[in-house]
């Protein structure tokens, strides 16, 4: 079943240098799966995620032939309707938790708020649910953490709190924007495990934004490779190693490897045509 359909999504920013076409004709459909968006910095990954939730600044122009979530046309929603969708149906795990949590509200408050804004429940119930959720994301002492402020918890915990906050309203889609880039490897793995468990349990579709091809290869089902605002390749994750687009291959190959050490790493030369030509597999 298609949960989300995106067709020919274009995002244009108005900047001082003129218009910036950051996302060009991006199309994909999301089923009940873990879809990754990869690509180098600035290729438009986050912009796609934000465009779905209409989080881009007001000066941005977002057009698409189709931006369909279930029965709702996201493009035609007014402010109120989109608010009803945000959180409840689609939510987004923001990048760095250190900056994405309100520093003067306790962690717990922020989690229960995510729930109570959509459900008509009492504070007590919201708190209960939040505590429950904290336990779900493997936080040892939820009661304690609940009343802590963001600066009092570590990055890994912050990331988990962020996940808790976004999962608690039980949305249909979670967009996770580089949820682990600020973490070191061991914590990274923990977070990914939790995420997997939750989305499987609650039947959530995931859009996983990352620039780490290695990670994506293991973790996701399908990968969209973006370059310069376009999707240059869409491929099954386990087939990444034999990707056909030179860009994807370039990315894969320039990674230094532990097992197969090479004296010089291959360096990719970018081709102007990638930006314009339709590349078909």
């Amino acid at each position: 079943m298609d949960v989300l359909t995106v067709e020919k999504l274009n995002v244009t920013f108005r900047t001082d240098e003129g218009l910036k076409h950051a996302v060009r004709d991006v199309s994909f459909t999301l089923r009940n799966e873990k879809l990754a968006i990869v690509g180098e910095s600035g290729s438009g990954k986050s912009t796609v995620g934000k465009a779905i939730l209409r989080l881009n600044p007001p000066s941005t122009r977002v057009t698409a032939e189709k931006l369909q979530f279930g029965k709702t046309n996201l493009l035609a929603c007014n402010e109120k309707e989109i608010r009803a969708i945000r959180g409840q149906h689609i939510s987004m795990i923001m990048q760095d938790p250190k900056f994405s949590l309100n520093p003067v509200m306790t962690v717990g408050e922020q989690i229960s708020e995510a729930l109570s804004v959509h459900r008509n429940i009492s504070r007590r119930e919201a708190k209960e649910a939040a505590l429950e959720m904290l336990k779900e994301v493997s936080i040892a002492d939820p009661e304690h953490v609940y009343s802590q402020y963001p600066h009092e918890i570590s990055g890994g915990m912050g990331q988990r709190v962020m996940i808790a906050m976004m999962v608690i309203p039980e949305p249909d889609i979670i967009i996770a924007d580089e949820p682990t880039s600020a973490l070191d490897v061991s914590v990274q793995q923990d977070v990914l495990n939790i995420l997997t468990r939750l989305i499987e349990k609650k039947n959530i579709s995931l859009i996983f934004i990352s620039h780490d091809l290695n990670l994506v290869k293991k973790f996701c089902d399908r990968v969209l490779v973006m370059y310069g605002g376009r999707v240059v390749e869409s491929i099954k994750a386990n087939e990444l190693s034999n990707a056909s687009h030179p860009y994807t291959r370039g990315l894969m190959e320039s990674l230094p490897s532990l097992k197969h050490r090479r004296e010089t790493l291959p360096v990719m030369t970018r081709d102007q045509n990638w930006l314009t030509q339709e590349y078909t597999t």
């Binding site: 990055g155 070191d184 990670l215 293991k218 370039g250 790493l265």
Partner: protein, 247 residues
Amino acid sequence: MISIQSLSFDMPGSTKSKRILNDINISIGKGECFGLVGESGSGKTSILKCLAGQFQGWEGAIAIQGKSLAETSLKERSNTMQMVFQDPYGALHPRHTIRKILNEPLAIKGLSDKSERILKALKDVGLDETFLPRYPHQLSGGQRQRVAIARAIILDPDIILLDEPTSALDVSVQAEILNLLTSLHRRHQLTYLMVSHDLGVIAHLCERVAVMKSGEIVEVVSRDDLVEGNVAHAYTKVLLQHALSRE
């Protein structure tokens, strides 16, 4: 070349001081590439800072080319040791042109034949003179890191400290820089002390690597042992396992 013996460092804090390095022992030979890995906040950068003279008041003994570090001034140190930073965007003064950036160390040292040296350094890092009048914001990240490396080698140091020189860069650019470092190493007989959290990167460049955890070195392993998985400490194992599982 570099010998560090029982180095400890307490960060003087406003309330209480905090021990961030504890009994570090490393010795690096001439022309060697030595790596430092470890979790975030384990004190990798701090070791470099002690070496570079940014942190003062450490305990223990550090000697560079046999000379005790405590007795050399920053100015003397600058002749033998230079540093390349993690962040290519912050390491270059945004309002200096590339010419000025490369000229500065020469001017400080009062060296002559400046333009030749500058051109040579640029050539070493694979750039040409058309870059000279530019400002850093007109360069890409990889080019900036090259300029930073050029600045580090322009004084012909023997040792270069590298603090995560590629972690802010794309994988493709990372490859360029790693290649550059390898070739420089070979050409100039440089000694590298490189910090990274990416085992792949370390293993690519360094012969030996020290693994750090919360201010201590838990073990020092050679590249071959690493690749083969001959590691003792549990933490190293975790690191290795994650790195391998991704490939």
